[in-house]
């Protein structure tokens, strides 16, 4: 569903992503790991069509992002890092705007889509509140609601559980897991237990390069008995 081939992105002289390739099929939940500054967000921005890759291609559902960005964006739900949203709008207004841009123009269609997203992310209680007055965790949920509003076939989520309380983290994980049956999901995270809990595959990148692409079980089997964060540390350290 999502296919990435030799992606490269340079910021001036600095190379943020240096040839990353992987693919995510329907039903997969791909955990995207890597130390700070590894190039996770940059890779996701290229898949979502926000940044143009310097080299390589990214495609969603067989459509190349650089060739037809709008078609890709239509199929994709994308949660940017830090869940940006228009602060002066209420949650309902904001999701209504997203619904309109996503093609739900009639009042009824718009309403049903907004209600769907609000219900899935348990935001009903704050639907009339302006986004700037929400706590960080709620803002994060608004971003998540925005990404799944059109029930997309592919989801790209940049740190979706960042800032959520433990209960909400579990809710969001359960939600992602339940949705993933017929979707392809990529999520970046710094929480290794999250990978264990929901991911069907793990990718670790460091300094823009792919160093691991396997199942969580395989990752564990690299060093039986060690904790995941110790394995992660050894893998990313040895590359630095």
């Amino acid at each position: 569903m999502i296919e990435v081939n030799g992606l490269v992105k340079n910021y001036g002289a600095k190379c943020a992503v240096a040839g990353v390739s992987f693919r995510v099929n329907r039903g997969d939940i791909l955990g995207f790991l890597g130390p700070n500054g590894a190039g996770k967000s940059t890779t996701m921005k290229m898949i979502a069509g926000y940044l143009r890759p310097d080299e390589g291609t990214a495609s969603v559902g067989g459509i190349d992002v650089t060739a037809d960005p709008v078609a890709v964006k239509r199929q994709l739900g994308y949660l940017p890092e830090n869940a940006p949203a228009y602060p002066e709008m209420t949650v309902e207004e904001f999701l209504g705007f997203i619904a309109e841009v996503r093609g739900y123009r009639s009042t009824a269609a718009k309403r049903s889509q907004v209600d769907f997203a609000l219900a899935r992310t348990q935001l009903d209680a704050v639907r009339k509140q302006t986004i700037e007055t929400l706590s960080k965790g709620y803002k994060q949920r608004v971003g998540f609601a925005q990404a799944l509003l059109h029930d997309p076939v592919a989801l790209v989520l940049d740190e979706p559980t960042d800032g959520l309380d433990p209960n909400q983290k579990n809710e969001v994980r359960a939600l992602i897991k339940s949705m993933a049956v017929e979707k392809a999901v990529i999520l970046s995270t710094h929480i290794l237990e999250e990978v264990d809990a929901i991911c069907t595959r793990v990718i670790i990148i460091a300094q823009g390069r792919l160093i691991v692409d396997e199942t969580p079980a395989q990752l564990r089997a690299r060093a039986p008995g060690m904790r995941l964060d110790e394995i992660f540390r050894d893998l990313t350290r040895s590359k630095v």
């Binding site: 069509g49 940044l51 143009r52 964006k73 239509r74 940006p84 228009y86 705007f97 309109e100 996503r102």
Partner: protein, 241 residues
């Protein structure tokens, strides 16, 4: 193309979700009306029922007022990260540029049209030429579009609103001063006369004046519309990564 509608709607209503719109509208009307009644405007002295004294200040007023509206257009989106959200929604850059520009333009048009009670006052005091009043409004709105095009472009160049405001001000001031004879004379000193004359053609004043006299010259309309088209084109280019 029909993706412009939601962008336009959000942006236009956005002005009214913050105090910006109300502060702006009040400031604009207060300034424009008091300038007209001032010593320099001579709204009363004119002794004739016309609105010239109201509109003559518009090129100057717009110089400060339009950058205030235009500066946040793109800078704010870039700073707060919503640009990333906007450009990962299924719209083209052109849709976004047009939607946002048209919203800003509609807002400025609203500000200009809110002065209509002035026209009614004039009509109450005397017998104004409604045709001239109408061309004044058309000219003012077209000119607002020209200014806003420039400001939208400069706003797309930076994520800092203050930088955006100052850049817009400088760019608009340049376009304004080109029309002043003293300024053109200086230009003629350094540039070939043909070039200086050609540059003078790019002034807001030169193209706005005929409207205040009740003349809608197609060449002035074309000037403002092509200025808008050109700046919006550059706006799209500036936003493409």
């Amino acid at each position: 193309m029909n993706q412009i509608t939601p962008i336009f709607k959000r942006e236009f209503l956005g002005y009214f979700r913050t105090p910006v719109a109300y502060v702006f509208l009040v400031a604009f009307l207060t300034l424009s009306v008091s300038l007209a009644f001032s010593r320099y405007g001579g709204f009363f002295k004119a002794g004739s029922a016309e609105m010239d004294s109201y509109f003559t200040f518009f090129p100057w007023l717009f110089l400060f007022i339009v950058p205030a509206v235009g500066m946040r257009l793109w800078s704010e989106e870039k700073r707060s990260g919503t640009a990333e959200l906007l450009f990962t929604l299924p719209i083209t850059i052109l849709d976004a540029v047009l939607g946002k520009f048209l919203a800003g333009w509609a807002f400025l048009a609203l500000a200009v049209l809110l002065s209509f009670p002035m026209a009614l006052t004039v009509a109450y005091l005397g017998k104004p030429d409604w045709g001239v009043i109408a061309t004044n409004y058309v000219g003012a709105i077209l000119m607002a579009g020209g200014y806003l095009g420039v400001c939208a472009l400069t706003s797309a160049l930076t994520k800092n609103q203050v930088v955006s405001f100052v850049l817009s001000l400088v760019a608009c001031a340049a376009l304004l001063f080109l029309g002043y004879s003293s300024f053109t004379e200086v230009l003629e000193g350094v540039l070939p006369i043909a070039v200086a004359d050609a540059l003078a053609n790019f002034s807001f004043i030169t193209h706005f004046e005929p409207f205040t006299q009740g003349i809608i010259d197609p060449k002035d309309v074309v000037f403002f519309l092509s200025l808008i088209g050109f700046t919006l084109f550059l706006n799209v280019v500036a936003l493409e990564r």
